[in-house]
């Protein structure tokens, strides 16, 4: 996600959840120390009896969340993405995804957000692991405004959701946003030359890249695919039919994330040249988040290069 440091993102998350909780008394938040040290967040302050911090025990986090859902609660469960996905994949698969329980799993600090900590706290394989689970919705909002809008949009959504948060210091792509529904996307910039699908922090980069491409005579269309699953297929198809080529940009491994999802879809429905901007088939390492995004090629410059390649290969 694009805006603010860790505390800000957690604050936005807590406020958005508190808003949901005011409307629905069955909303609960289970936490494995995501709110740094426990009870400081807005949700916990306003609804202490509906806030359960299980501490650093990610399997227990997911199991407790599943039980609360079985008892009739609407559950949000949060931890760092790296721990939630890798330590708790068994419970996520077997007690949340299989029965399709209405639990939203919040993976904090996805991608390389927690730069200095290195590979153990960086999560670049979460989208593929979560997307592979039947019935799991996967959402990656681009910034804090989009995060609130995505949470609003999930109010009536049934079934399990993985919501990946990231951290960054760039401003939101839009200052205001109404609810963003799963299965939809945002057309952020109209264009006829190349379709750029992006999620998370890469949405802002894609918009910047579109500005550069314009000066080179390529008119890029930018789609915010915050809903990695279900994919906004009609939005993508409509765009690619006009542009004839596509770039996918994400803060994720090259395997099976948004890039994989878009490629699987287009290969079957509308085969066109595609280029991918991702970290490749690699783990992260220590460094600041900004340095790492540069090092792994998660930049507007890479998107520009990929777009030029895809554009030159298209058949029209």
């Amino acid at each position: 996600m694009g805006t603010g440091r860790s505390r800000d993102v957690i604050e936005v998350l807590g406020q958005a959840l508190a808003t949901l909780a005011r409307r629905d008394e069955k909303v609960v938040f289970v936490d494995a120390d995501l709110e740094s040290g426990g009870n400081g967040g807005p949700f916990a302050r306003e609804f202490p009896d509906r806030y359960f911090n299980v501490g650093v025990s990610e399997q227990d986090l997911i199991l407790t969340a599943a039980g609360l859902a079985l008892a009739g609660c609407r559950v949000f469960a949060g931890s760092l993405a790296s721990f939630l996905v890798s330590k708790a994949y068994d419970p996520v698969r077997n007690v949340i995804a299989t029965p399709g329980l209405p639990v939203t799993l919040i993976g904090g600090a996805g991608g390389v957000s927690l730069g200095g900590d290195g590979v153990t706290r960086q999560m670049l394989e979460d989208l593929v692991l979560m997307r592979a689970l039947p019935g799991m919705t996967v959402l990656v909002p681009s910034d804090r405004i989009a995060l609130s809008a995505v949470l609003e949009g999930m109010e009536t959504w049934k079934g399990p959701v993985y919501l990946r948060l990231g951290l960054g210091d760039t401003p939101p792509v839009r200052e205001e946003e109404s609810r963003l529904l799963p299965g939809e996307g945002r057309l952020l910039r109209k264009g006829e030359g190349v379709t750029v699908c992006a999620c998370g922090v890469m949405v802002r980069e894609a918009l910047e890249a579109a500005g550069i491409l314009m000066r080179q005579g390529i008119d890029a269309e930018v789609l915010d695919c915050y809903s990695v699953k279900p994919l906004p297929v009609s939005l993508i198809l409509d765009s690619v039919r006009r542009t004839g080529c596509c770039v996918v940009a994400e803060e994720h491994s090259a395997i099976g994330g948004l890039g994989g999802a878009v490629a699987e879809f287009l290969a079957a429905q509308c085969p066109v040249p595609i280029r991918f901007v991702s970290v490749g088939d690699r783990f992260g390492q220590s460094g600041s988040a900004v340095e790492l995004r540069e090092y792994y090629g998660l930049t507007q410059g890479e998107i520009v290069g990929a777009a030029a390649q895809a554009w030159s290969m298209r058949r029209r």
Binding site: L63, A66, A69, T98
Partner: protein
């Protein structure tokens, strides 16, 4: 416990055992010995201990049950069928393609199944979540979680055990089916080889040992599971693999091999020797 009730429960358990054998035999798949060890516990839970209503399987005030010991699934299905959650004929399509009765309990697919299970070590954590949710929503109901002694090495169980005790979730009851540790000494002299008693105590639980095949002992033990208790109770129930069928008790057929038709008939003959009458008219 009065003699009449004890006899009824014993009789009921006998019918359940016969159907477990038929079910596993017809499916030619499933764990017979583990299932037979659980029958008496499950019969007592569903006939006496738990507050349930088979005509309303999702009744909000019901007691919940989670089967952690997945190999005992045929026993649970049979008890649910006899209790009226679904038709007894469903038992004969156990493990078949499209069947209501899957190899391991599946929530939503089978009436009476309160939670998904099958992956070892996950049951107790789910029980805690249900307990917290019921408390929050102001509902009554206890949560019984039946664990196998084989899965007690799973770390997730002990993450959960800490949560149960620290949150004073007295409505959560852990029952451990101790079927691997022998039944050759009296219960009071029995040393549980995994040190479960000590472990649960050090996590803040109260522990009771019981004989998992003695209905009088079970009555005494489950009387302690009152909804208002604070300290959670772990029940170490000593059981015998294959209980009720001498051949299976002796390790036949091998645990990994499901009995076929021939073995099934042989096992049924053994049970029939003890039988005094079958309400379903099957012999």
């Amino acid at each position: 416990m009065n003699d009449q009730l004890r006899e009824e429960l014993q009789q009921y358990a006998l019918y359940v055992r016969k159907d477990v054998i038929r079910m596993v035999g017809v499916a030619h798949s499933g764990h017979l010995a583990s299932s037979l060890s659980l029958v008496d516990l499950l019969v007592y839970l569903y006939m006496e201990a738990m507050e349930v209503d088979p005509s309303r399987p999702m009744w909000e005030e019901r007691d919940r049950f989670i089967l952690g010991k997945r190999h005992g699934c045929p026993a649970l299905y049979t008890v649910l069928a006899h209790r009226g959650y679904f038709g007894r004929e469903e038992l004969w399509s156990y493990r078949r393609l499209g069947a209501m009765l899957q190899g391991h309990p599946e929530f939503r697919r089978t009436p009476g199944i309160d939670a998904p299970s099958g992956s070892p070590g996950l049951g107790l954590g789910v029980a805690n979540g249900i307990g917290l949710g019921l408390t929050l929503l102001g509902r009554s109901g206890r949560v019984f979680c039946l664990l196998g002694d084989g899965e007690m090495k799973e770390g997730a169980i002990w993450e959960a055990a800490l949560t149960t005790a620290s949150r004073k979730l007295g409505r959560v009851v852990a029952i451990v089916d101790c079927s691997r540790s022998g039944t050759d000494v009296p219960l009071r002299l029995w040393k549980d080889p995994e040190g479960l008693e000590e472990r649960f105590r050090s996590f803040g639980w109260e522990v009771m040992r019981t004989d998992g095949h003695d209905f009088d002992a079970l009555e005494e033990t489950f009387a302690l599971c009152t909804p208002d208790r604070e300290r959670p109770l772990a029940i170490l129930a000593r059981t015998r693999l294959g209980k009720g069928v001498p051949l299976v008790e002796k390790g036949w057929p091998h645990a990994e091999i499901a009995p076929g038709r021939h073995e099934m008939e042989q096992a049924l003959r053994e049970l029939n020797r003890e039988e005094r009458g079958d309400p379903h008219g099957n012999r």
